[in-house]
């Protein structure tokens, strides 16, 4: 994510892969090339996410917790609860009335309730991850996927399909399973409106709707929900420059 003067997004790219920080390095090259800029013209590079401490071009690093909070508040300053379901973890962030991250709760290290859980399930069902929502909409009666363990849930899905359950019902069950796990975290933090969902899983309407049902609140999202962490990092980079230059 390339941000100009803390306001204008002048470039962004997404790569859902990469070993170590190679992916981030490649993405930065692409963004700079498209914007016809070089790294030396960038005032401040802020890294976030797993591997943030090892990304050499970065001037500094910030946790994805603070970054998601900054990114979402940039979009909507009235948000008080952020649900971020990413590939490796799920978290619920509480924002206070001053717009500052006040507390958060993360899943334990088990993959249940994260985007990786959905990846694994999409893989068994041989359905592209971005088509899960469409299939979930066809469900007449969502199947019950009760296993917390991703591998056990995988066996459960296979058994349900073998017993004649429809793919739509199984996918809706998978979405409900993720939603129920994350709703538990959200209830522990305490839901305060407005609620926004960030991270890649926000694009999955099946999970979003299941979460709305569980939490009984409307959940906002954006087509760029997956980029909220990067946006927050870019905003934070701008804030650092401002601080250094006493702007």
């Amino acid at each position: 994510m390339l941000l100009e003067n803390g306001e204008h997004i002048i470039g962004s790219e997404l790569l859902v892969a990469g070993i170590g920080t190679i992916g981030a390095g490649k993405i930065m090259e692409v963004v700079l090339k498209k914007a016809q800029l070089t790294l030396s013209e960038i005032d401040f590079v802020m890294a976030t996410g797993y591997g943030r401490r090892n990304f050499e071009p970065a001037n500094s690093e910030l946790s994805e917790l603070s970054c998601h909070a900054k990114g979402v508040l940039f979009k909507n300053p009235l948000v008080r609860t952020i649900i971020d379901i990413g590939g490796q973890d799920a978290k619920v962030l509480r924002i206070n009335d001053k717009g500052i991250l006040e507390n958060f709760m993360m899943n334990d290290k088990c993959a249940a309730g994260t985007g990786r859980f959905l990846d694994v399930m999409a893989n068994i069902l041989q359905i592209p991850i971005n088509e899960l929502e469409k299939s979930a909409e066809l469900a007449e009666k969502p199947a019950k996927i009760s296993s917390t363990c991703t591998v056990f849930a995988e066996s459960e899905v296979i058994s349900q399909l073998a017993s004649g359950e429809t793919v739509g019902n199984v996918i809706a069950g998978i979405c409900n399973s993720v939603a129920s796990r994350v709703a538990g975290l959200a209830k522990r933090v305490g839901i305060e409106e407005e609620v926004f969902m960030s991270g890649g899983v926000a694009q999955n309407g099946g999970v979003r709707k299941a979460l709305e049902k569980e939490l009984k609140v409307p959940i906002q999202w954006s087509e760029t929900s997956q980029m909220m962490g990067a946006l927050g990092a870019a905003i934070s980079a701008y804030e650092q420059v401002k601080k250094e230059r006493c702007i």
Partner: protein, 410 residues
Amino acid sequence: MSNEVKKKYVPDPNSAKFKLGKIAADAYVDAQAAKDRGELIGWCSSNFPVEIPETLGLSVCYPENQAAGIAARGGGERLCNISENDGYSNDICAYARINLAYAKTKDAPEQNMPAPDFLLCCNNICNCMIKWYENLAKELNIPMIIIDIPFNPDYDVSDAQVAYVKAQFLDAIKQLEELTGKKWTEEKYQEVMEYSGRTSRAWLAATAEARHTPSPFNGFDLLNHMAVMVTARGKKEAAEAMEVLEKEYKENVQTGNSTFRGEEKHRVMFEGIACWPYLRATSTGLKSRGINMVTTIYADAFGFIYDDFEGMVKAYCNVPNAMNLEHARDKRVKLIKDNHVEGLLVHTNRSCKLWSGFMAEMSRQISAECEIPHVAFDGDQADPRNFSEAQYETRVQGLTEIMESKKGGC
């Protein structure tokens, strides 16, 4: 290339660190010497009243202490695997798994201890302890003496509970006298009680020095020093060494020194048993961000203050894992307020279901009352397979950023 030869660090023999380290190490040597002399020696759970074997002049070793040492030196997984291969579930306490494996193999280069002739078990720390020691007793075919101190659902310890537990203390003394031929004397008990009181008072006074900002010590020091509180608090040398520790911390306050290296930017309370296999990773994750873990209930839990036998019984009924949530919460709230803590870092310890189980609600209540953020990370006191450094780092960094923003930084 430098020709300098790095000198081996030799601690000052008059320092508390040296004295406390020696007492902890000597405990194993002394027990082995007693065994070699033909005396009966025991294995003892950490919150069993140490005053009983000490007054009777019996040497005991502490399996929890040994398991922590083995785990910190990298042997936890090896011994856990041995127990698991014998059919013990990896859901049970890793200290138990390590010790049950050690009872079978009788060798661990990380920390050996002599085989027991009797077992002293007290369930005021957890109930897993009972089955663990029962299995040891059966496997090794040796007697087990148990003191049952049930979880107290009320805020205060009742006279009825004291009476129930006191009778068991007296029975344990009688059983040990019959088993070992050693005799309980009131004179010796008074001496042990005095040393235990001196040790505990000095320990609590030393840890209370964290009320100063910056703290005169790195809280991780407490995790090492507390080995003496667990194993030797009724000994004269323990009382003397703890008084040196208290003096050193007080001097540090006067001179502005601290064993915490670097600037103390934030102060947190650590909740739970240390993650021994990753002590360096967990400590560096804090230190690199200028976070000092200034206090933990785990350390203060081993300071027992009382004036007589009944008072001692009551003190053992009032340990953190045996008291109700409101009482346990209030003790922590006091530590947080006394020591100006800004955040709570909770170790969700797979080994300790009891402690980790009540922490979710207690963290919420503490956070609300003290207006501090709290964060939990997954780990284990001794099984290295239950920890992820990247996940720990993210949580600690999140906590740091919240503490910074509350101070108006970031």
